[in-house]
């Protein structure tokens, strides 16, 4: 058997991950053409590179089909129940930083905090006859956050992309989304609530707790961890 390392299959996240491993003496690269999702590992024995969509890496880790994986903390927390019993955080990689936040229209001058949002939601429901809509793809994280904070009279509407546009299009009144610089929010006339930070996320190397390993895999894992400085 070999140790399987899951890495995002494209874009900046893949390149930065390759750089991070490269700086520690483990060279990752794509095999063959750019379109082929197979990879090569040099500098670490018994390790196989698996290129996957970042969104699938949490599930593959939880299922034990990969032993190690690089993905955002936001995705792990959203997709895995009791995530810390399924995966272990080995290292924060220092890129892919993004905050999951609650944002509302900038013209809501009366809303700066969750307390304001909750009060506005109550009035909104009385006036419009339905609950205030919050567009997001992070349903569990947002629901848990609002339950914990005691925010009521809202509903989540699913938005898998261009979430900032939902307010202008009047398919949602507010959003819960990932932002790194806040530029897209400002361009769409949205502002972040003062206490609306749900989660700080960044690219992180995770180890699957339940992936099956033989003695050779364990040795490969120990050698790789030592080389990466995460043991």
């Amino acid at each position: 058997m070999t140790l399987k390392l899951g890495v995002p299959s494209k874009g900046r996240l893949m390149e930065k991950t390759f750089d991070w491993f490269g700086a520690r003496g483990v060279t990752l690269s794509r095999a063959g053409s750019d379109r082929e999702y197979a990879g090569r590992v040099e500098g670490a024995d018994g390790v196989e590179l698996v290129l996957l969509s970042a969104g699938e890496i949490p599930r593959e880790l939880a299922a034990g089909r990969i032993h190690l994986g690089v993905t955002g903390t936001d995705l792990v927390h959203e997709k895995l129940a009791q995530w810390d019993q399924q995966v272990e955080e080995l290292a924060e990689l220092g890129f892919g930083q993004a905050d999951l936040i609650i944002a509302v229209p900038q013209c809501w001058v009366d809303v700066d905090t969750l307390d304001d949002l909750d009060a506005a939601a109550a009035a909104f429901r009385r006036k419009h006859g339905f609950r205030m809509r919050i567009a997001t793809k992070y349903h569990r994280l947002v629901r848990d956050f609002f339950r914990d904070q005691g925010v009521a009279d809202y509903q989540l509407v699913d938005s898998q992309g261009a979430t900032e546009g939902t307010v202008k299009n009047e398919t949602a009144e507010a959003i819960a989304d990932i932002t790194s610089t806040g530029e897209t929010l400002r361009a769409n006339h949205l502002k972040i609530l003062d206490d609306g930070l749900i989660l700080r996320s960044q690219a992180t190397l995770f180890r699957a707790r339940k992936a099956p390993m033989d003695d050779a895999d364990r040795a490969a894992m120990a050698a790789l961890a030592a080389k990466l400085g995460v043991d």
Partner: protein, 365 residues
């Protein structure tokens, strides 16, 4: 839950309990497993999605695997004219689990529901005593409370109607309730930026573009509410202490009653709610319940039992917080009003988990 699972003993136990309630005069009912999701979502909001399985088809839209029987039984009863009635049912309920893998996502419930406004105290005592008689062999710990006490306390406060409304809305959410008390009493002072905004001649000066469905008029309306709030006298220390005193009542029922009567000296609006507890205490005693040793706690079930708005009770295994209660129940007058479309009827009921009961009796839990 395992794939191969001998349910026959559980079914038999559920049938036995339902037959017992039928013998007490309850009419058996069988709500469908698939229920329209809209009613539940409207009642409980987004939280219910975390606890119930929601599915859909293109014809009927979003449907939910019934997470409990009470809501469909109330709907059925209200649709049939809301005459006094007693119902019983037995069947599976379905609960999504996101945190605790040891909690079952499918289990059976047997319930007894009383729709009868002629003597609410007697109806409370009837439901409690019947369920108590069923679980008695297990030697469980009984806990009781009354959600009406906290609601009456808030309604009786010497403060603005708006504040009372906000507190009543969050009576089920201890953390937000506490934050509101801190805000209204001045413990959590208003932010400087907020003070400036409310004093500003043009609060919308910094707004570049109006976006979204919530109009400027709605924002202005809330600014008026915020100004009214800022101008109102803070909730006094005495009032905050009254709320705390009420929330701290946790005694054997007769002492709790005495305690509440003492508090009501400073808060006369509490008296009718205290009288209801006293009437229930007498009715329980008349049914042979040992009220002198019955625990009563104002905050009992506050964060969990959301549709109950009066009497609440539960029977649980002492020292086993890992197990769900074997039986819970309570009064839900407001639910009949919400689902009644203009009519309402006082209602109280309780459910038992026959599976857990059997497991405990046979030493499996």
């Amino acid at each position: 839950m395992s794939i191969v699972n001998d349910r026959a003993p559980y079914r038999a136990e559920a049938a036995r309990l339902r037959a017992f309630f039928e013998a007490q005069g309850a009419v058996p009912v069988e709500p469908a497993i698939l229920q329209p999701a809209e009613v539940m979502l409207d009642l409980y909001g987004e939280d219910i999605r975390a606890r119930a399985y929601v599915t859909s088809d293109p014809l009927r839209g979003e449907q939910m695997l019934r997470p409990d029987f009470t809501v469909p039984v109330v709907q059925m009863h209200m649709a049939q004219g809301a005459e006094p009635a007693r119902y019983t049912y037995a069947g599976e309920v379905f609960r999504r689990q996101e945190e605790d893998p040891s909690r079952p996502s499918e289990y059976s419930q047997v319930g007894y529901e009383v729709f009868d406004g002629s003597d609410p105290a007697a109806a409370d005592a009837e439901v409690y005593a019947l369920i108590e008689s069923v679980v008695r062999p297990l030697g469980l710990k009984a806990s009781t409370g009354d959600m009406g006490i906290l609601a009456a306390t808030v309604s009786g406060l010497d403060t603005t109607e708006r504040r009372k409304r906000a507190l009543l809305r969050h009576i089920w959410r201890p953390r937000r309730f506490r934050a509101l008390i801190d805000k209204f009493s001045g413990k959590e002072p208003m932010a400087q930026t907020r003070r400036e905004l409310l004093a500003s001649a043009d609060p919308f000066a910094g707004v570049k573009v109006d976006t979204g469905l919530r109009s400027r008029a709605e924002v202005a309306e809330r600014l008026d509410a915020l100004r009214e709030e800022a101008a109102a006298a803070p909730l006094s220390r005495e009032q905050v202490e009254l709320i705390e005193a009420v929330l701290n009542v946790r005694e054997k029922l007769p002492f709790a009653l005495e305690n509440l009567r003492d508090i009501a000296v400073d808060l006369p609006a509490l008296l009718p709610a205290v009288d209801r507890v006293a009437a229930r205490c007498a009715a329980l005693e008349a049914r042979g319940v040992d009220v002198a040793n019955l625990d009563f706690e104002v905050a009992h079930g506050r964060a969990q039992m959301e549709y109950y708005d009066g009497f609440v009770f539960s029977f649980a295994v002492e020292g086993r917080p890992d197990l769900s209660p074997v039986a819970v129940g309570g009064r839900y007058d407001a639910l009949t009003r919400v689902l009644g479309g203009g009519i309402e009827i006082p209602a109280v009921g309780g459910v038992i988990r026959p599976g857990l009961m059997l497991d405990l009796m046979e030493g499996r839990a």
